[in-house]
Point group: C3
Chain length 347, copies 3
């Protein structure tokens, strides 16, 4: 594709030759002369001098470079769109694969691609443009919106409701039973039937092997635009706000309420029945044991403000010395006291 055409499609100003032939997209260190790359983070700007790329997507503030430049207010977003010009993920052929099993009572929208061995249960409703890769299972009575993309081995359990443009990566599980057991008085656990559902609103993406449990009663809900990485656990009855990021291996216990625009980094855990305010950020491995006010940045297990946590981390390196200092002071003070013998008698 000509660079000029790429500029037009990405709605970027072009500095350089519109006739340059571009065959793909690559990182700044790997890009070759027929590839386009980008720099978004200012700390990588120095690399625009050494890149072999044929063209770079840059912000208007970036320094000049002899390399052809596509100027964008949001170079990262423009890069994302550039990738789409060159790569189209595969999907199953249109229609229903002969080995798929679709219940007669299921209602399918228009324009579906349903892969081998995929199972669509009784009473399922599925919107338009659904792409279901092989071996997906939609349990009975699940309701799914338009433009659904389900990768192999993803599962939607009974009665769960999914909005438009939702993506399930491989093995994502929507609506397995919540972890609910009632002690029966003899320290045995009696299973509580999980009769609630999971609701995924529009534009949610779930990573590979992530699990969102159905509620005991009522619902577990993930709101619009929230993105969930791989191997994440969301316990029953939780509510996750809009446009929130849950990185890989995050775990939310039951009845957790997470706000909008929250970011929980990798391996963060949140105890049950807490409220995490909007725009909270928790750094990796934070263990959140109490509710957190909106806008806080937290770290540690249990959590504290990140500033304190960083200071303490540095102090940990001084802790052995601190203990020695205190011991030394004890001795010195004892000696000083001895040297004031007259004071003693004053008491």
């Amino acid at each position: 594709m000509k660079l000029g055409e790429i500029a037009r499609q990405l709605n970027c100003d072009l500095r350089g030759s519109a006739d340059l032939e571009i065959t793909g997209v690559a990182g700044i260190e790997e890009a070759k002369e027929d590839e386009v790359t980008f720099v978004s983070n200012p700390k990588y700007l120095s690399k625009i001098q050494s890149t072999q790329a044929g063209a770079i997507i840059l912000s208007p503030e970036a320094p000049d470079t002899p390399t052809a430049t596509l100027v964008s207010d949001n170079p990262y977003l423009a890069f994302a769109r550039a990738i789409e010009l060159f790569y189209r993920p595969p999907k199953p052929p249109p229609g229903i694969h002969p080995t798929a099993t679709v219940a007669e009572s299921a209602k399918l929208g228009e324009n579906y691609c349903i892969g081998a061995n995929t199972v669509i249960g009784e009473g399922v409703t599925l919107g338009d443009n659904a792409i279901l890769h092989p071996n997906v299972v939609l349990y009975p009575q699940s309701e799914i919106g338009n433009d659904f993309l389900a990768h192999s081995h993803s599962i939607v359990r009974e009665h769960c409701r999914i909005g438009d443009r939702v993506i399930l990566q491989n093995g994502a599980v929507v609506g397995a039973d919540g972890f609910g057991f009632a002690p029966d008085g003899e320290k045995h656990y009696y299973k509580i039937v999980q009769s609630g559902i999971v609701v995924l609103e529009d534009d949610v993406e779930m990573g590979a092997h992530s699990c969102i449990d159905r509620a005991t009663v009522g619902e577990t809900r993930v709101k619009t635009g929230t993105k969930i990485d791989n191997l994440v656990q969301i316990g029953h009855g939780s509510l996750v706000g809009q446009h929130t990021i849950l990185a890989s291996q995050v775990g939310l216990a039951g009845s957790t309420r997470i706000g909008d625009h929250v970011t929980l980094a990798g391996q963060v855990g949140v105890a049950g029945h807490l409220v995490i305010g909007d725009r909270v950020t928790a750094t990796a491995q934070t263990g959140i044991a109490r509710s957190v006010e909106e806008g806080k940045i937290i770290s540690g297990s249990p959590e504290m403000e990140s500033g304190l946590w960083k200071r303490n981390y540095l102090l940990m390196h001084e802790l052995p010395q601190l203990v020695r200092t205190v011991k030394g002071l004890e001795q010195e003070v004892a000696e000083l006291r001895k040297k004031l013998p007259s004071d003693r008698t004053d008491n």
Copy 2:
């Protein structure tokens, strides 16, 4: 269903109208006038004044309320049973789905429901009343008891043995290879064939995508009534006791021995070859690096008694001040020493 009938089926005393029509079960804040709810934890008792529920399941000690009341010694357990009156999870139709693959040498009990694409290998034995959702795989020679419930994509590997009333949530894996490699002297790893099995005793439940590895030789065993949440890892050769709770994302390394009535909260890790005594409780994210005596409550990574851990957590907030205090003391003591010049010469 009439409230009187519900009271009868749950074996509860009824205070209020037996004729009230109830259509479902809900949480205390969401319940409507035709729904029944419950309060078990005394700290939520205040909510019985504001609930819209038609009836509440309460303990005999709960304060009086104008709302109709079902009196139970174990309101939580009664609530669990109430859910069953209104919700019946779906299961595949009786018999074997035409797309399922059942080996001729497999021995099936009575009254099975085997879903689409499910695979039952050579020599498998399966007890009565088995419910296998679509895309389950039972590897050859696995032995499974009565009332087995296996959700889609759960797997039982070769030769593993499963008791009665076991439930596998979606993607649970019983008996994948343990993580065993022998260094060959050149820092390469030689795979050790994992020839042992997994044994799940009666009434075990495994959550979605949890993994229990087969032993190298011998067995990995989970004892009666133990409940395992999602994304849990149990390493090869481990033994988990009876009526124990492993919350989501817990990881047990190999050859771990966990006692009876233990509770490991979310994201707890246990190193290999340890012994965790009966009734131990570990709070979320605890990293257990040494064996733990029965009855202990532990926290932290590595673990310590929870009381000490909480005290230290509070002290962490004072740590910056502590360091400043010690520095101040050093100066003061140095000054004091200077002010005792005659003492110096005494030494």
Copy 3:
């Protein structure tokens, strides 16, 4: 099998009767008189006195024992090979199961065993001796070497490349979409198509439900001989070196570079864009927030050298006392100062 024959096949010296009939392999505490066991770790050598085993694999340095002995320079490796003499894991019958779906454009090598419901997409290439258990999915255009072993529900996504002798345990996912989103300026997240691939070099093993994400552009790569346990997450664009061990529930964020012969113990997390040098060892639950030089042993979250971390852990137990000591010193110093009243006036 006669013990003499076992000695011959394992290339061990035999001390004892070559005619002893051995029927299997077991751990030192469980082994019976017709089984062979081993001791590799010197701290278990005392158990050779009490074992019931018919024969023990021991190093030349081990003390003498009346039990028949197979002498090996690497008893653990010899034990691994002994298991292979007695246990052969099952595999699907040769050929393609009638319920499997193999695209016409797929190129299969010789001698394959392809199980029920397994799906091989368009343009896949598969080397010789492939064993694919039921319900495996190979997406279009994936390229796989010889001696591939894929357990049920494992997945290889489009265009990914896999070397020889690679093993995927149940549910392992090679090449799901990386977690890449571009903020669109209104705090919404725009999905970045993940056009890159995953490359697994020769002799890699992936545990159950582990996930290795495809790169945004370029590749995510795991080098020769690296072994990955269950429920591990490897973010997009990462590079994992040769003969490295990633234990269960380890998580690597994106663009992480892990060296050769590294060991990351259970639940370790590594932040993005870091470089972890060769032969680094991180103990369980370490949270790695900065790059680590080769050969270091690290612990804690965030990480520090293990020696300091252990010292600090012990000091944590003294922390409450330390705080009390400092408070006591403050009082004492204040009293001492009072007792030097003349000094005050000097200032």
